[in-house]
Amino acid sequence: MSTRKPAPPGPLLVIGGIAAVLVLAFLWAAGWIGPRRISGGDVTRALEYNTGKPQPGFRRAHAKGLCLSGSFTANGAGSEVSTAQAFEPGTYPVIGRFSVAGGNPLATDGRNVFHSMALLLNTPDGQEWRMAMDHTPIFPVSNAAGFIALQRASRPDPATGKPDPARMKALIAEYPSVKAFQDYLAKAVLPSSFANATYYAINAFTMTDDTGQTRVVRWQFNPETPLSGLDKAHLDSLPRDALFLEMIARTARGPSRWHLILTIANPGDRTDSATVAWSGAHRTIDAGVLTVDKVMPEEVGACRDLNFDPTILPTGIGLSDDPLLAARSKVYSSSFQRRAGEGPHPSAVGGDLAKDPADKESAR
């Protein structure tokens, strides 16, 4: 190199400039510089804050759960609005998970919170339909920012076990939909069993039929078991795992069934907000029957190591313009990534299992 003259500054500046522009563009794309955006980590952190205590290995929301399996028998009626194979007459295997809201895997069931059912429906064409549904037709907030604000404001005060009323008041001033949700929850029946709850898709989706026509659709699973409610005035006296143990005992006696009801949007229905229920008369389709004939603790069921991302949809079903869908997908993924790295821990229902080494071995 001793024979070489020093490199000319002009071309070096050009090279350095190109590299700097690429680095800056990369940092911008990654969100490290430029306008603040809400990441999946921001939401999982808010959920962790709400839970209060780290719960490694568990879902950041709906940490307490029970695996289910069964089948969905389609009657063919759903094919009128969607080409998804799940709607063609036939019976398709289903696995899933019952859960209650919150990040504490050992929380008591005696709380007026979401009761939830997640499903994964497999069809012979190799496609999957994943769903994560709650027992309320509406959601308290319509986007990730609102969800973070809700998690932060509603963190139970360690002293009282209840959220700080001043923070909740401020939250409701900013997000009136939280109030509407609270009002709904206060007067709605809190199902006494996982088996007698109606589970709602929360968001609107699109369905496309074989002529290419796309409609906005919400769906729900209506139970065949008649609805009865828990006594909301005495939730404190409910045993910790009452709902889960009831479902285990019930399923040992026989399967539970739900009808999948598709509700087609009317012109003018809000499709971009899970906080708004569709009111008035709507066209509905009973697409078939879900049968849940087995429930298992997460240690032995197939549900624990799955992410019930509601944006994993078969051909014929698609996303609507509801921004909550992308947010749910990303946040579920962030939560999944975290707990995957932390490794599984014993569930509430599987706690007894963990104490018995023989069963624990068979659970692997």
Partner: protein, 215 residues
């Protein structure tokens, strides 16, 4: 061909630039999608998987082509460390191009996800459903992506250094190629006296000295 080519094979050059655009786009799509809970997340994710698999297919076609058609010799006056860096970085670039899509695919399989390329086309799992494995591969996907981007930057800067500073024909061998009017390159040894043969060798900024054989 019994003499080394002066340029990369034309088809290889086309694939190189096509993949350059795709790989850079993928790195930006990747870091962009994981940064947001906005609607861009699902849209970018929909792009990320098929483009990733397209890159895997292209690199599987490109590698044999590269091995069959060879590469033009590096300038003879290039210091040994730079020769090593050039050859090593090319191996790492190929490794990254193949590894990133494979890790992404295996990662989704390990997470129990369907690997859907686009509506209706689902790839088989190439890894067992195992969350520990998922966590490891997911981490590797990010770490290798950042290292890959750094490697591409170094590769780009080196290429531009060859093209703008050294003007030794290396950049041209992957772009427009050596003009047919150029005299034949001398044969034998690693030492190729490039500079004084090229039309711009009279540029005062360009070192026109012959490389010493023992340099």
């Amino acid at each position: 061909m019994n003499r080394p080519p002066r340029d990369f094979h034309p088809l290889l050059r086309v694939v190189h630039w096509l993949m350059a655009a795709m790989v850079l786009a993928m790195l930006f799509i990747g870091v962009g999608m994981v940064s947001t809970t906005g609607p861009a997340y699902t849209k970018l994710l929909e792009l990320h998987r098929p483009v990733g698999i397209a890159i895997l297919i292209l690199v599987l076609l490109r590698l044999p082509l590269r091995l069959a058609t060879g590469s033009p010799p590096l300038p003879g006056d290039l210091p040994p460390m730079q020769v090593l860096a050039a050859k090593g970085s090319h191996v790492l670039l190929y490794a990254s191009m193949a590894a990133m899509p494979l890790i992404g695919w295996a990662m989704l399989a390990a997470g129990g996800y369907p690997v859907e390329l686009f509506s209706g086309l689902i790839l088989p799992p190439i890894a067992p459903h195992d969350l520990r494995l998922y966590a490891m591969l997911r981490q590797a996907h990010t770490v290798i992506a950042v290292l890959f981007f750094a490697l591409i930057l170094a590769h780009l800067c080196a290429a531009l250094f060859h093209g703008l500073v050294r003007k030794d024909g290396v950049l041209r061998s992957m772009t427009v190629g050596t003009p047919p009017s150029q005299p034949e390159l001398p044969q034998g040894g690693g030492e190729v006296p490039h500079f004084d043969l090229y039309p711009h060798a009279d540029d005062p900024e360009v070192p026109a000295t012959q490389p010493k054989a023992d340099e």
